[in-house]
Amino acid sequence: MDEPEYNSTAEEPPAKVKSVAAKILEEFFDTLEKDEGTTEPAKRLRKVVLDDGVFAEPAIRGALFPDAS
């Protein structure tokens, strides 16, 4: 039997699936970065949440208020 063809998706790159949540969170961090007062916290939060995948309160608090003891 002939090999089935699935050309409709064959051109797609084998990229890692990005979750819907990650896309929404990226949009949030982009918006936050545009605000002068939260540019730096947004960068730190993006790293903690999206890069490190950490959602624990101390880590988020630390990203928001790095100077707080």
């Binding site: 797609e12 949540a21 918006t31 988020i60």
Partner: protein, 818 residues
């Protein structure tokens, strides 16, 4: 995602050894309950994820993949329980790969080829275990409570993290906001203490400099021209014996004693009493309503639980909760208490000046107690200390508010101040007895104390500013988060809502072609209302039938998966889904899947062979891309309706001289064969409302229909003057007729019930030829090349051809000129 080409299952769940050739196309597994269909679903899930959902989650305590994944007879040999799946990966140009797992090493599959792109592609499947949809899950999307549905849908869309981060940001914002009043009071008290030293009523650079510079001048120190953030008002002052710690600053101690006296008087004042009475009345009003009181208590409990939750178990009842589940659960409860929260906020505003007074008195007591410790001999201020402790307790109770009855007790007794006059007199006497300092000493003491209190004030002010900045930032971030995520979620749900309604209209176009739906997201909830024949929008379970609800569940699942994966939605397992959808709508479901998801490979399981026939006749399942199980035993696992298996099994019965077993299986097989033959040959069968057809209802009709079709084909071939075809048909007719005669056709077509029941009473020698005759007879319905039973084409309408699967037989049924 992937498409599955082949599955090989060994010693896994109820299956001993099973190979299914899916060819990357839609596939159906059909059979009565308990014939191994679920084992196939489990095997697919296990191979791709290393997990079996059926053995995990709620209600599966004590079950595990390790212990219960292997076949029961191989439960101590987890290395023997294996599933191997051959896949093609469309996103990699249809690259072929194989993933194989054993229960023993469930976490470390063997992937061939061991390429990174293949591993990545298979990992994405592992991240989407929702490719399996069972009826149990189907209903969760439709009939759940809004809060539960929100969790189910968010979990499927991988939105859990959105709610998780929202919960953390909310918690941080709440904490920052709650800390502000305390920071404000500390700053206010620090200001008052500083003003008391400076003997001025306004705090400004000017007032501070005007107070300290004369003292500095007296000590020969240069005046301060400005007061920076780190300026010390005692700058240049050398420490001397008279300024050493231990000496009570007479003047300031006197002032502090006066401050304390006034603070205590304030606590006993009519104004304070009136404030406490008014707040007590408000608290009584709030507490009068049992629901409010209960809600207030629960609100406090819920907030505490959120704060104390360790990410594993509820701090109140020790029940294990996943973080997102726990927070969503409490968020839903808290939302019900919104009204209570508003009333609580109003009461807290009323209590603020009361707390301020208490805090001021407490600070004044602490200051005086510090002074007292410096006298020699020390002055006993135990009474002051005790009242300070009492006051701190009152402050803390009013601040936390709950239990409301305790706060009311405090408010009722808030003006109760013990008689401390004798102690205050003692302190006054001691202060008076302190030798009058020289002007230089007084100036020195003033500068030291002013510097100390200026330091306290600066620290309190910085802490307050930092607290305000944190609160503002936390609130701003939370607000932005709410705005962005709400807009994004609303868009997602709008897209899903539109797709869902389109799909549902597709399967109900006969009577609900104007159907619409509403997905209504709110924090922690997802409302879901559907149109009911133009009479309004209601929850799906309100008026729609169970079958319609099943259809809705499938449509919502497909809409969600389509949104989540888009073109990557290439694979899905529908496990016994749509059982309550009627025949007409099933055909529409087939059309929906075939037309709107042409790139998705669906794997179906069903116990309903009519449903299987629908899928085949509607072109959703092509050729022999299905497995039709007839039975299951613990020793053998599932057995398919496969000719070779059946005849071998019948021979096995006869070899063991078990004629009864062989007769039962032959009859059972002939029933299955007859149904298939009638279906394929489009035989006329007397209609039975219960669809319970006996062998005698079917086999004679199938036989006569094949005979008629061959006659018709011969007549058509003659009309076209196709002599070779006529000769071929004649040969088929001869073989068919001979096989028919050998089965005793003339007998069983007259009284089938009696005829077949007699088989069990035959001897082995007599039944053997019967078996051989029926084997030859049934094989005469099929192509001798591909083995597939003949079928009439098309499946509806005018009968045009009689064909086999490979095309070797393709007989025209239409005469020339017809």
């Amino acid at each position: 995602m992937i498409r599955i080409e082949k599955i090989v299952i060994k010693e896994f769940r109820g299956i001993r050894d099973l190979t299914l050739d899916l060819k990357g196309e839609n596939f159906a597994a059909c059979g009565p309950n308990g014939t191994g269909k679920s084992g196939i679903v489990d095997a697919i899930e296990f191979a791709l994820t290393g997990n079996i959902s059926r053995l995990a989650g709620a209600g599966t305590g004590g079950l595990s993949v390790k212990a219960h994944g292997p076949h029961v007879d191989s439960r101590n040999k987890p290395e023997a329980a294996s599933v191997t799946v051959d896949v093609i990966i469309p996103a990699l140009g249809n690259k072929k790969a194989q993933i194989s797992r054993t229960v023993k090493s469930a976490g470390t599959p063997k992937i061939t080829p061991p390429d990174k792109d293949v591993a990545d592609a298979l990992e994405t499947v592992n991240l989407h275990p929702e490719f399996v949809l069972s009826r149990r899950e189907l209903i969760r999307y439709v009939l759940s409570e809004p809060g539960q549905r929100s969790k189910e849908v968010q979990a499927l869309l991988r939105l859990d993290d959105i709610e998780k981060l929202r919960g953390v940001l909310q918690k941080i914002a709440n904490g920052c906001s709650r800390a502000l009043p305390g920071l404000q009071r500390t700053e206010t008290d620090a200001i008052n203490n500083l003003l008391a030293v400076l003997d001025t009523s306004q705090l400004s650079k000017k007032s501070v400099l005007e107070a300290v510079n004369p003292k500095r001048e007296l000590l020969g120190l240069a005046p301060l021209s400005d007061l920076e953030a780190n300026t010390s008002v005692k700058d240049g002052l050398t420490t001397t014996a008279s300024g050493a710690p231990g000496r009570v600053p007479k003047i300031q101690a006197g002032k502090d004693l006066q401050t304390l006296t006034e603070a205590l008087e304030a606590l006993k004042s009519d104004a304070f009493q009136a404030a406490c009475k008014a707040a007590d009345d408000s608290a009584a009003e709030l507490g009068k309503d049992a629901d409010s009181l209960d809600g207030l208590s629960r609100e406090g409990l819920l907030k505490s639980a959120l704060e104390l939750y360790d990410g594993k178990v509820c701090p109140v009842c020790d029940t294990a909760f996943e973080p997102d589940v726990f927070e969503a659960h409490l968020a839903e409860k808290l939302s019900h208490l919104e009204d209570v929260s508003k009333r609580r906020a109003a009461l807290e505003t009323e209590l603020k000046p009361i707390l301020d007074q208490m805090h001021t008195a407490g600070t004044a007591l602490a200051t005086m107690i510090d002074h007292a410790a410096l006298f020699s001999p020390k002055i006993d201020v135990t009474a002051l200390d005790e009242f300070r402790t009492v006051l701190r307790g009152r402050y803390q109770q009013v601040q936390k508010l709950l239990p409301l009855s305790d706060t009311r007790d405090v408010l009722a007794a808030a003006t109760a101040v013990p008689d401390l006059q004798s102690k205050l007199d003692t302190l006054q006497t001691a202060i008076t007895a302190i030798p009058e300092p020289t002007k230089q000493d007084a100036a020195r003491e003033f500068l030291i104390l002013a510097d100390e209190r200026l330091g306290h004030y600066r620290a309190a002010r910085l802490a307050h500013i930092a607290g305000k900045e944190q609160a503002e930032r936390a609130a701003s971030v939370l607000k932005t988060y709410g705005t962005v995520t709400t807009a994004a979620l609303e868009k997602i749900y709008k897209d899903v809502e539109t797709a869902f309604a389109n799909y549902y209209r597709k399967i109900n176009e006969d009577d609900e072609n104007a159907f619409t739906a509403k997905l209504m997201p709110s924090i922690g909830k997802l409302g879901f209302d559907v149109d009911f024949y133009g009479r309004g929008h209601f929850p799906p379970g309100a008026y729609h039938s169970e079958g319609h609800q099943d259809g809705m569940g499938l449509c919502l699942y497909l809409a969600l998966m389509n949104h989540l994966l888009g073109k990557r939605f290439t694979f899905s397992v529908l496990d016994d889904v749509l059982m309550s959808v009627d025949a007409g709508h099933r055909r529409q479901v087939c059309a929906l899947l075939r037309e709107m998801f042409p790139d998705t490979q669906f794997i179906f399981t069903t116990h309903d062979e009519i449903w299987l026939r629908h899928m085949k006749s509607e072109g959703l399942i092509k050729g022999r891309n299905f497995a039709h199980f007839r039975t299951w035993t613990v020793d053998l696992g599932p057995t398919e309706w496969d000719d070779r298996d059946v005849w071998t099994e019948i021979e096995d019965y006869l070899a063991k001289n078990d004629v009864r077993g062989a007769a039962a299986l032959l009859r059972h097989y002939l029933e299955h064969f007859s149904k298939e033959a009638c279906d394929r040959l489009r035989a006329n069968v007397e209609f039975r409302g219960d669809a319970q057809f006996m062998l005698g209802d079917l086999l004679p009709n199938a036989t006569s229909t094949l005979g008629s079709l061959l006659k018709k084909a011969k007549s058509a071939a003659n009309s076209w003057n196709q002599k070779d075809v006529v000769e071929r048909i004649t040969a088929i007719e001869a073989a068919f007729s001979e096989a028919k005669v050998k089965t005793g056709y003339d007998n069983w077509q007259v009284n089938t019930a009696v005829h077949f029941n007699e088989w069990a009473d035959l001897k082995k020698e007599d039944f053997g030829p019967v078996v051989a005759a029926f084997r030859e007879f049934t094989s005469s319905y099929a192509c001798d090349t591909c083995g597939e039973m003949y079928s009439v084409s098309p499946e509806r309408g005018k009968k045009e051809a009689l064909r086999c699967g490979c095309g070797k037989l393709n007989l025209n049924l239409l005469e020339k000129g017809a």
